[in-house]
């Protein structure tokens, strides 16, 4: 009762079930998947669930109906997408999960799907927390800009961070509010929170976009981001890394959306019968004032 088999072929017809495409990170991920498929000469069936886990399951079903060779799935939600994974398996199609996992009690790597490739969101939050513990001076008063309420990266990046700083009494979280992973919303929320908590000296944003919005808000309020207020974020896109280099962001943990090469390589390995680990964690970098300039060239 193992995984569906996949023969070795020159080209494959594969499906990529994207969650949504309403932010730069997702768009970069999609682009990477498309470009790499093109480079390999593979046929890619691309679907977009528009932020709905239910639709994503239906999307996967439509790929099954099209008899693709394999499915790459970026699950919108841990639990609902387990159903999609099982459907694919029942149809004899191997699945590789990208950037988010499915609920391990419902579907397991090695039996239900091949593997999970991605980052560990909790760990990302922890890295930010750990860096803060090491780098803040005096009392740290933190505003946390949360990702979209209810989404798993938001929940995990919050949990990782809060767990990491819990023990440190010199770090106090003043407020945690939903910035919807968006620049404009991040800016507006930050503006408002700045009024209520003028003594803030640390901002932790769950992604680059909100961090950039927060920087605009800080500057509009006459504060110097990076100096008066430490700014930290996750994603590590080029714009953010540049800001680290400019000293406006202090620390970024990378969460690289360029999945294409790794994803297809893994599939080829699987077809070739190689042993695939249950989890492939991306070797995500991080950037601070010292490493940013060097990293800029390779930041996505």
């Amino acid at each position: 009762q193992g995984l569906p088999k996949l023969g070795v072929k020159k080209t494959y017809k594969v499906g990529f079930a994207q969650t949504e495409s309403n932010n730069p990170w997702r768009i970069a991920q999609t682009k990477s998947m498309q470009e790499e498929a093109k480079r390999l000469g593979w046929q890619l069936v691309y679907t977009d669930a528009g932020g709905s886990a239910a639709k994503q399951v239906a999307d996967v079903n439509s790929m099954i109906a099209q008899k693709v060779d394999a499915i790459f799935l970026a699950p919108r939600e841990e639990k609902p997408l387990a159903a999609a994974v099982k459907n694919a398996r029942a149809a004899g199609i191997p699945v590789i999960l990208l950037d988010r996992n499915v609920d391990q009690s419902l579907a397991k790597a090695g039996t239900d799907y091949v593997t999970f490739i991605g980052s560990d969101f909790i760990q990302e939050g922890q890295r930010v927390g750990t860096w803060l513990k090491a780098n803040h001076k005096g009392q740290a008063r933190v505003i946390q800009l949360l990702g979209t309420t209810g989404s798993s990266p938001a929940n995990d990046r919050r949990k990782g961070f809060e767990d990491a700083v819990k023990s440190d009494t010199s770090i106090k979280i003043l407020a945690s509010q939903d910035g919807d992973f968006a620049r404009d919303k991040g800016r507006q929320v930050m503006q408002t929170l700045l009024q209520a908590h003028p003594d803030v000296n640390v901002v932790y944003a769950h992604n680059d976009e909100m961090a950039i919005g927060a920087i605009a808000a800080l500057e509009a309020a006459g504060k110097k981001p990076g100096k008066d207020v430490l700014v930290m974020s996750i994603d590590g896109g080029k714009e953010a890394v540049q800001l680290v280099a400019n000293g406006k962001i202090n620390y970024v943990v990378e969460c690289n959306p360029r999945f294409g090469p790794k994803a297809y390589a893994t599939l080829k390995d699987y077809a070739a019968g190689k042993k695939i680990p249950a989890k492939i964690i991306n070797p995500d970098r991080d950037y601070d004032a010292k490493t940013a300039k060097a990293g800029l060239a390779t930041a996505y």
């Binding site: 495409s21 069936v45 932020g51 709905s52 109906a65 099209q66 609902p80 159903a83 209810g150 929940n155």
Partner: protein
């Protein structure tokens, strides 16, 4: 006293009346034919029933919406209410399907009732009352769920409802069909149905004629809440989780389906059967786009897909309105 027969009984009208009535059905048939000819695997039972199972949620929501719209109202809260119900269903799922079903549909019905009371007796316009519920129910869903998806129990048989089948036919498709048959009968053959249409056709007149307009309104919003609740139970059961963030934009899909089905947004006229056809028509478009992307000839990015969907909607409603215009 003049006793002229029908004022409108010209011959040429028959054709456009036919088209108006069956136009959507013809469009659906055309779309299916197109898909069948162009894509391999499109007409497979797996694909069709998968589309049906997924769209059963929209179908139920659109059914409630159709009733609401026929009274001249609107219910923007259906998506949030369904999400809320899915959370409640998931929380109750360890106690078995029936309790989860009753509890979730009951809770959603309650929210629908609140909508109805606020609209009928509070005299707040439906758009605003249900807009508030759209926010409120979402908030409640997140509160109950603790901001994340809620697991359902797989042991209690709860998931059979959403995932089980008779032969190749999913239960959810059967539930959908049953709901529409009942709805159709209720609209056509019961006084309640007539009263819904009368309220939509002229609220003041209906009131002066002695109809209990308020009660009719409360009932349709409650019904819409209940059906959204049922959709929420299917959501939880089919996908194995109560999802507080699901259901975004369902109200627009449902409204579009109702309108595509030929129901007037101003109320007073409409068809239940065509609403279902409208749901399937809009649902199939997504499916077709997925298949088109699989052809490999072009890869439609997400934004091209939304442009295509918009243009498709445009074509359907323009044709519809031209037919209606020609008729009257």
């Amino acid at each position: 006293m003049a006793t002229s027969p029908l004022p409108s009984s010209a011959r040429g009208q028959a054709a456009s009346a036919f088209l108006q009535r069956y136009g959507v059905l013809i469009a659906l048939a055309l779309l299916l034919t197109f898909g069948a000819l162009r894509y391999e695997g499109f007409l497979s039972p797996f694909n069709l029933f998968s589309v049906l199972a997924f769209n059963s949620m929209f179908g139920l929501v659109a059914l409630g919406m159709a009733f609401v719209i026929m009274t001249g109202g609107i219910d923007l809260s259906v998506g949030s209410v369904a999400a809320f119900a899915s959370v409640i269903a998931a929380m109750l799922s360890p106690h078995g399907l029936w309790l989860a079903l009753l509890g979730a549909v009951g809770a959603a019905t309650l929210l629908g009732l609140v909508n109805g009371l606020v609209i009928a007796y509070g005299r707040v316009l439906p758009f605003i009352a249900t807009l508030a519920m759209l926010l409120g129910a979402r908030g409640l869903a997140l509160l109950f769920a603790g901001d994340q998806s809620v697991s359902v129990s797989y042991e209690s048989g709860f998931t059979n409802f959403g995932q089980g089948k008779i032969g190749a036919v999913p239960y959810t498709a059967i539930v959908l069909a049953a709901a529409f048959v009942l709805g159709s009968v209720a609209l056509r053959y019961t006084a309640f149905g007539r009263h819904i249409l009368a309220v939509g056709g002229g609220e003041d007149a209906a009131r002066l004629m002695g109809l209990k307009v308020e009660r009719v309104k409360v009932l349709v919003y409650t019904l819409s809440g209940a059906l959204a609740g049922l959709a929420g139970v299917i959501l939880a059961s089919q996908f194995g989780a109560g999802q507080p963030t699901e259901g975004l934009g369902w109200e627009l899909t449902a409204i579009a389906a109702v309108v595509v089905g030929g129901t007037l947004l101003t109320g007073g006229m409409g068809s239940i059967g065509n609403t279902l056809v409208g749901v399937l028509l809009l649902g199939l478009i997504f499916n077709i786009l997925n298949f088109e992307n699989g052809k490999g000839t072009i890869s439609l990015s997400n934004y091209w897909q939304s442009i295509i969907r918009g243009v498709f909607l445009l074509i359907v409603v323009v044709l519809q309105s031209q037919l209606t215009k020609r008729r009257s």
